[in-house]
Amino acid sequence: MSNGKQAVPPSPATPEAESPVDPLAPDRVDALTYRLVAMGFILLTLVIITGAAWAQYTWHKWWSWDPKETSALVAWLVYLVYLHGRLLGWSKRLLAWIAVLGALAVIFCYAGVNFLGGLHAYGAPTQSIAEGARNAFQGMRTLEATLAKSFLVFYLVAFVLYLGAAVFAAGEVDPEAGRSHKARLAWVGAIPTLIGFILHTIALVNRSVEAGHLPFSSGYEYAASFAWAIVLVFLILQFRVRTPVIGAASLPFILLILAYGFLWFGDKGVSPLPVALQNKFWLHLHVAIAIISYAALILATATSAIYLVKSRGTPETAES
């Protein structure tokens, strides 16, 4: 073929590192991270903007330096450093570390703030972990509990399969064989993930119908929705990048967030909305954008981690 080079838009790829078959060549992973960060960053900006609009509407002040607002701003600033650093041609390993730092900021914004109080106190944990472990599924109806247990099991199975496949595929030497092998191995984990995702979707739809609004109001609902968004973005990614490695790196985040939701909050069933959350327009818009944004940024961390592993020991390419 005369033009073997793929026009992957934002990647200033170097020819040496570009193997046309390895979906996990460092430069490709880096380009993938960039795309996820770009998408997550734009959405994060919209999260802050819709948050400000909602705050103006309900708290009558668009910015009050509330810990949630502030920590979203911190995450935004970290990704701003990432994007400008990229513009300045910083080393890709450094950028990958910044993306990891960004995800820490996102996680802090999502969960850490719950322990600090402030205006977003609806998210504050409602039980101890031990309590949570004892009665994780007790607040649920039978159908909900069955669905929740099932998708958890499917995700867990998917993770084990992805991990196994990734370790197995890591030994591949021949890039041509490696591609086909890895591509096929990706489906090993993708199928249980997809089944889990469908069950997860049913569970969330069921809850939405019951509550009359999207499941964004309690700590448990928010965690379940957030994890769902990560699975969604991950599955889209999986269809484009067929390797089990991304699954092995992403599933832990999904499982951890679900565990956080179950153990710290537990499902208390449908609870009435606090007055500040009664405006469903802003609730839906703000939180829906937030979970997709966070999902993209969390997955950017997974790809950054892969980049950091894959590029270990190799000399820095072009940029620095």
Binding site: S2, N3, K5, A7, P9, P12, A13, P15, A38, M39, F41, I42, T45, L46, I49, A52, A53, Q56, Y57, T58, W59, H60, K61, W62, W63, W65, P67, T70, S71, L73, V74, L77, V78, L80, V81, H84, G85, L87, L88, G89, A105, F108, V113, L116, G117, P272, P274, V275, A276, Q278, N279, A318, E319
Partner: protein, 481 residues
């Protein structure tokens, strides 16, 4: 872009260069991020005793000494933000000329010169004798703007462009952030803005003695409702009347999700509270009189808000001035799991014989809302709770700028990341080797988008190939600061 005009050696030139540099941005941003994190982790604007209690005397003192208790209003934080904004403005100014040039687009001759070098350019031999005509048709259909001209050797030049406005995306985005910042400052300046709270009970008037609001506010009604069986409010709203002396200026209902706005001052429902309990005492003589006991807001056992009696104000003298009603305890009943506010309770005592030395205490016990209990010949009835409404009063002249900035920043970012302005020159000419015509393409910038390449390949019927060894390769850095 370098600043030819500036003398790099001079101090002002150096400072200007520093201000225009993206490197400045990138050093200020992490510092700002760290400062903001500190502010998110350490509760802000609490009284100094709070820090002593929460972090110990030494650390609490240190925190307040360096201003970590009020970071976002500290001078150094404001200076930091100021530097960032100056940097932002300087960067916008610097890149404006470049964006304008890119928006105007290249002259065909400029791109034709690139064809001579061949680097980054593509070519194909067309099998279609009317390559130019078909190209024009397809490019138009693909919504490209095409300018035709003729080169010195009679070749046809098509200057193809799309989304040239997107060259301004970066400038719009950065300018929008600047707008938000200016709006934020306008919304905080003491002489342009207003940010306070007023708390009052039904029937009370906030007098606006310092003339900041420009009107007095009377609370006609305050309604509260709770979700059935919980202490979680489902609604609280205030009917307010804005007054100038006795003249009614405006009236409306302020709720959490709806503000009453008068001349730029917005009144919103911010919070609610309890001001007191209303009781009726019937004495042994059968005389009935009201006795109100004020409640004070207190910190609850779980860091929540609760209400109780304070020592100085727990006594309500009764009409004979010899006896009094004493509030012992107020039970909001939030923990008991019973319905609130239908069953809050007060524990009261009636003290008689105050004038004489031997006063007597009659313990009435706990009286639920709507209940009546008696002791020592006195009957005490718990009639009602007195709610207070807290309204936020805000004037923020910066809001329009903030919203405009938010809209522009969203548009600008979407353009920046997802719309790539494109410009390329297609030269259709004949050579001796290929009488049907050879098509050569010189893209502006380093890349030639795959989609655009396909259009030309469809017309030519063959693939485009890079013109030189370096053709098509993307190399080098994108931006110099």
């Amino acid at each position: 872009m370098t600043n030819e005009a500036q003398d790099e050696g001079s101090l002002t030139g150096g400072l200007w260069g520093l201000l225009q540099s993206v490197r400045t941005t990138i050093y200020v941003l992490p510092v700002l991020a760290i400062a903001t994190t500190i502010g998110a982790v350490i509760p802000q604007k609490r009284p100094p005793e709070y820090y002593d209690m929460a972090y110990g005397r030494m650390w609490g003192g240190a925190l307040t000494a360096v201003g970590f208790d009020n970071i976002y209003n500290s001078t150094w934080f404001i200076i930091l933000v100021g530097v960032l904004l100056l940097n932002l403005a300087a960067c916008v100014a610097r890149s404006f000329r470049r964006a304008a040039r890119q928006y105007r687009g290249p002259a065909p001759e400029t791109l034709a010169r690139k064809l001579e070098g061949g680097r980054g350019c593509w070519q194909a031999n067309s099998t279609d004798p009317d390559a130019k005509g078909r190209l024009l048709g397809m490019l138009h259909r693909a919504r490209f703007a095409v300018t035709e001209s003729t080169g010195p050797k009679g070749q046809s030049w098509l200057l193809v462009r799309r989304w040239p406005l997107a060259h301004y995306a970066g400038i719009v985005t950065h300018l929008a952030i600047f707008l938000v910042a200016v709006g934020a400052v306008l919304g905080r300046l003491p002489w342009t803005s207003l940010d306070q709270r007023i708390t009052f009970a039904e029937g009370e008037t906030f007098p606006d003695t310092d003339k900041k609001l420009g009107f007095a506010v009377r609370l006609d009604h305050f309604r509260m409702d709770f979700y059935e069986g919980t202490d979680q409010p489902s609604l609280y709203e205030s009917d307010v009347v804005l007054l100038d002396g006795d003249r009614e200026l405006s009236k409306g209902m302020a709720t959490v999700n709806r503000q009453v706005v008068y001349r730029g001052v917005a009144l919103g429902q911010a919070s609610w509270g309890l001001a007191g309990v209303r009781l009726t005492v019937t004495g042994p003589d059968g005389k009935t009189e009201p006795a109100n006991l004020p409640l004070t807001e207190m910190a609850g056992p779980h860091g929540d808000t609760t209400w109780g009696f304070e020592d100085q104000s727990r006594i309500a003298m009764l009409g004979d001035q010899k006896s009094a009603l004493v509030g012992m305890e107020f039970v909001p009943d939030t923990q008991a799991g019973s319905t609130y506010p239908k069953h809050p309770a007060v524990a009261v005592q009636v003290v008689t014989g105050l004038a004489a030395k031997d006063h007597q205490v009659h313990d009435v016990g706990t009286v639920g809302l709507g209940e009546e209990r008696s002791a020592g010949g006195y009957r005490v009835r718990f009639d009602d709770l007195v709610y207070v409404s807290t309204l936020s009063v805000r004037k923020d002249p910066g809001l329009p700028l903030v919203w405009l900035g938010f809209i522009l920043v969203s548009l600008g970012m979407a353009l920046m990341f997802y719309v790539r302005p494109r410009a390329f020159l297609v030269e259709v000419g004949e050579t001796d080797q290929s009488p049907e015509g050879v098509v050569r393409v010189a893209p502006m910038g380093r890349e030639f988008a795959e989609g655009d390449r396909r259009i030309i390949e469809t017309v030519c019927g063959t693939r485009l190939t890079p013109m030189s060894a370096g053709g098509g390769r993307r190399s080098g850095r994108r931006v110099r600061s």
